[in-house]
Symmetry: C2
Subunit: 670 residues, 2 copies
């Protein structure tokens, strides 16, 4: 591909919301650099708050809010612009996510007209900074069991919000320590002496001077690994009274006399219906994780293209890092998988956008499961890849000015918040077992095992993207044929489908034992936990591959498509290589073919090496945001200086050539 090749690739990546991406690039290119490492916690918080105000003034949050209340109601655009914020200071992305995605999103999705009228405009304009107070110290993953109570008092027609003990304090709440004036508080709703499960209420936190209101106690979570521009805090409520209207009553309401009504039957089902409406947060985190990964790869790949180390006999210059196979293997498969996840994310955002216009219960459930799986896969990929990029840049990668430390520290909690990844994968696995969709949210550990024992009838692999194309590719090959070309896409798809089906079938068989008389259902499930996690992983890998294949298929530019196909080859074969023990252990690959996979990964790395610069440039991150001196010419300048100084070679102060054998034994950074 030629000079414009990068632009053509960018166009493919930009996809449906290209305009949003271009606008964001223009706006962000004018911002100061994303460097915040020299700021104290309070300085950083103040800077992020000021930037948040600028976003509010520029109308940034509009896309995510309904047209009826001054918004644009463009779900895809709002998700895409969150993803773009991921190229800047991630504290700003999270702070915006808390204010508009979580706090504003909860009021919009769980509240009704009066709440919208009262709050949405103030939330968009940042006149009402707020919190999403769900997690408690004692209940982070298992929020259905949180302990804060909201007890209805029919005499005063108020709810009494209360923290019964220390483990029930709200914890890690963004916007709480410094800026939040109100919070959507999740609590067990009690009326008429009966608990009705978790509901959400709008509870004021601070007065107009920023002082906590009576009965509200606020503490600062203090310094964190990263995201220190976000003011996370803890909240305690000591019998705080709020009016009956504070209840966000779309899914459950309390009449003045205390009578409870709900359009959704069952506390558990209702809770998960409520959570389902808040899915955007999880998808936003996946998007931002993708952006941070792209930033890290842009830095590390550019450095690897300029940095030289160790002479090559007969050559005047030392070897460029990316010419070493080991360095290619560190960066290029990770780059390929970043492309794959990009297309999967785009597909997820598109589905969410379409569902906003045409709600469909079945697709909504599927989307929730896919969002959970992709969030886990993308954030783990970010954690691993940014770490690899740091190491691949050596000492330079450890300096704050080169951004990798901040990218690592800021994204590290992405594997935890908006759902712990290990917990999310368990949710995904459950969703894969046939029959589940009729029993939507009825998960649990033992509960799940029992359910499966009763209901399981067989697994069905449902294709998620470009169904007819994938059908055609798959049906053209046999998965077990040793002669099939290693780069045959149909073979890849079939291999992944077949793996998923086998893992699910055997998992279901194991879990069925939980139904046997005398079986300890919890133990059966717990003993299969590694199997459960594997099921989710291989499912997500299949979905991601299908999204990549569909994305390449949509690409009209033949050169771009050819390059993307090679990237897809590397992505899929390095995923196969990473799971080689499974494919070998289950007779899916012969030992000969397994070795050929490793050889093919090496070949693909070499083949993509000349395109590595194009592939990261196509992410089109505005240069001021790339921000790292090692990625923006400093290393090239130094190489040039050395070249100028040392030409002609052998002159002056150069060491004698016959003794300068390269030696990788000797790095000693003091």
């Amino acid at each position: 591909m030629d000079g414009s090749a990068t632009a053509r690739l960018t166009e493919v990546l930009d996809g449906r919301w290209a305009r949003v991406r271009r606008d964001a690039r223009q706006r962000m290119a004018e911002l100061p650099s994303p460097h915040t490492y020299d700021l104290s916690t309070e300085e950083h918080r103040a800077q992020v708050y000021a930037e948040l105000q600028e976003l509010a003034e520029a109308g940034y949050p509009r896309a995510g809010f309904p047209k009826s209340h001054g918004g644009d109601g463009d779900t895809g655009a709002t998700l895409t612009s969150f993803e773009m914020l991921g190229f800047g200071d991630l504290s700003l992305m999270v702070k915006a996510g808390v204010q508009w995605g979580l706090f504003g999103g909860a009021v919009a999705a769980l509240g009704t007209e009066p709440h919208h009228d009262r709050y949405l405009r103030a939330i968009m304009d940042l006149d009402l900074p707020g919190c999403f107070a769900m997690t408690e110290t004692g209940h982070g993953s298992d929020v259905q069991n949180l302990r804060t109570t909201a007890t209805y008092d029919p005499v005063t027609r108020e709810f009494v919000v209360h923290t019964p003990h220390e483990a029930a304090r709200k914890d890690y709440i963004g916007n709480a320590a410094r800026d939040g004036r109100a919070a959507v508080v999740f609590a067990q709703l009690i009326t008429g002496g009966e608990s009705r499960g978790v509901h959400a209420l709008v509870v004021p936190l601070r007065d107009e001077h920023g002082a906590p209101l009576p009965g509200v106690r606020i503490a600062d979570c203090g310094r964190k690994a990263g995201l220190n521009g976000v003011d996370n805090g803890r909240l305690w409520f000591d019998n705080v009274r709020v009016p009956r209207e504070a209840l966000l009553n779309r899914y459950g309401d309390v009449a003045p006399d205390g009578t409870y009504t709900s359009p959704v039957e069952g506390d558990s089902r209702r809770f998960f219906t409520m959570l389902g409406t808040l899915i955007r947060g999880r998808i936003s985190v996946a998007g931002a994780a993708g952006s941070a990964t792209k930033s890290a790869l842009t830095i590390a790949v550019r450095y690897a293209l300029e940095r030289r180390q160790f002479p090559r006999p007969g050559e005047p210059e030392e070897v460029v890092l990316l010419d070493y196979l080991a360095h290619q293997r560190r960066l290029l498969p990770a780059l390929a998988t970043t492309y794959a996840l990009h297309f999967a994310q785009e597909q997820l955002v598109t589905t969410l956008h379409e569902l906003a216009d045409e709600p469909d219960d079945r697709r909504q459930r599927e989307l929730e499961s896919r969002a959970a799986g992709l969030k886990a896969a993308t954030t783990w990929h970010a954690t691993r890849t940014i770490q690899t990029c740091r190491e691949a840049c050596g000492g330079a990668g450890y300096l704050a000015e080169n951004r990798l430390p901040q990218l690592k520290a800021d994204t590290d909690v992405f594997t935890t918040f908006e759902g712990d990844n290990t917990v999310l994968y368990q949710l995904v696995a459950k969703g894969l077992l046939t029959g589940y969709r009729q029993h939507v949210h009825d998960l649990g550990t033992a509960g799940m095992a029992r359910f499966i024992a009763d209901q399981f009838v067989g697994t069905v692999i449902e294709r998620t993207a470009a169904r007819s194309l994938i059908e055609r590719l798959v049906s053209a090959v046999s998965p077990q044929n040793d002669d099939t070309d290693l780069l045959d896409r149909g073979w890849h798809l079939r291999l992944f489908e077949d793996r998923e089906k086998h893992v699910l079938d055997t998992l279901a068989r194991r879990l069925r034992r939980a139904g046997a008389p005398g079986a300890d259902a919890f133990e059966v499930f717990n003993n299969a936990q590694d199997h459960v996690l594997r099921a989710a992983r291989v499912h997500v890998e299949r979905v991601v591959l299908e999204a990549f294949v569909a994305g390449v298929d949509r690409c009209a530019d033949p050169d771009a498509a050819a390059l993307l196909n090679r990237v897809c080859d590397l992505h899929v074969l390095s995923a196969v290589e990473a799971d080689l023990d499974w494919f070998l252990g289950h007779g899916r690959l012969s030992t000969t073919r397994a070795k050929a996979v490793t050889g093919a990964v090496n070949d693909l790395c070499r083949g993509l090496r000349p395109h590595a610069g194009t592939l990261v440039d196509a992410f089109a991150i505005p240069e001021p945001l790339v921000g790292a001196p090692i990625a923006t010419g400093a290393e090239r300048d130094r190489q040039d200086a050395q070249r100028r100084h040392e030409t002609p070679p052998g002159a002056g102060a150069l060491p004698r050539t016959e003794d300068t054998r390269a030696n990788p034994a000797t790095a000693a950074t003091s």
Copy 2:
């Protein structure tokens, strides 16, 4: 094991330098907490410098210096006390390592009597804070090719130290930005117009007021991911003149008239002989990485033993995290490998200590290779394990007060400094090919391939520890027998030996092609780079296993030995599981046996679960240094509060039980 079980295990772990460990524990228990996350860079540097002065006043550095100059000359003790510093603020460990290990160590090892008389006492007492100025921006791994020059001027009998261009500036130099008054500067020595390779000179940097001396330019590297108590800087020399006596002349000297003499022939060989004397730095880093890993595991395991999440049907309390198989699998194999690496480190320190008294060229080479391999293995293990511990503690693990962020950030550069791990593994692989020991430091990329092509005759596995015991265990089993007990230690040892031999044999065969007519030796070597790295890894794994086996064998306490044997089982089988694709792909394990390995890892996790607390407590980290509230009772206190409040169950504000099915789908940390 009962109450004293922990103490008995500690005794085994404490080993030969138990006294040093006990003294360090006592001293460190009195220090303030290692929390530094709220300090600015300058505050942190000042605090670390003050602590360094306290160490100097307490005589801490004595162990590492010769008796002739006021030291104790106890190599093992000095290495052990560095390892103990790894439990505190790692900035202090690194700062002490720079001052006494690298700067002082270079003067001691590369200088002669006049240098010792002039500098050693001042270095020990911190009257002369100094730097080890080897790494340059352009040459970090390949320091043999660094570009700074030291040109001898016979007229004035001085060396002219000079930075010829920007890439030749000294970079990442500890102690340079703030405190260093002098530096051991590594430069290409030129005399009589001829370059003699890299030598070291003592060059003053600052006057007594701290101002840079004429011709010396100093810049601050600024904020880093971690270790911000260490003042890393950059140095430029503009024709700085130092007297002839500034040359540390043990391995090469220049007479007043400019005549060069050296007891070691060949610039390359001389350089690596010099480097070999500085091996302590690498071993210290491995030791400190081990300590940081132990701190992280202590925090994460204790939290996992108290933290509960999701109800278990029929039980009044929620499930303890460490009862989940997935959580056991995250923490317990890492804990087992931490034990294994502890014994390997102890063995390395012992060998170094013995060699100080009885130098032996062959053992010295072997030690250098082993130190390189173990440094890489231990620091990668630290990076992975501390990351896992952070994730395993969820949101609490992201808070600075719980120490995991600092442990992660501080240790992150350990994989880079004192030798980039990827480069070190290449050195190790080379050392494994027979015949190498006669060509000590003649590595290089193409050079190596050519050498192997010429010289390779066959691989020999040399056992490193408890030779007769291991011989006995190994000879009792056949590696290919599917009936051998999966926990048979002889089978483990044989499996690892056999794997190493196969990987080396096939590697040598591949590299031999480099000698074929017309072959591009660099390409042959480069294409085999993943194979090279594997060779090093499997070698290190074998050495570590042997050290663990030897360590258990030395253990006189039968209960402690039994527990350690189970830990060893988990260590070795999880290593086998991690490399299952190799064992399957090379016919070393049948698919049935491979599945049994995974089952055995699960069983061992369950079996060690009740001992997890004992195993981390046996590290005997002083409680004030553990430092994390989640590891020192805060979580237990919260669980107690909840229990007190909520007894009897079902009363008051608890949600209705029929609907509280556990659901791992719902964590939403805002």
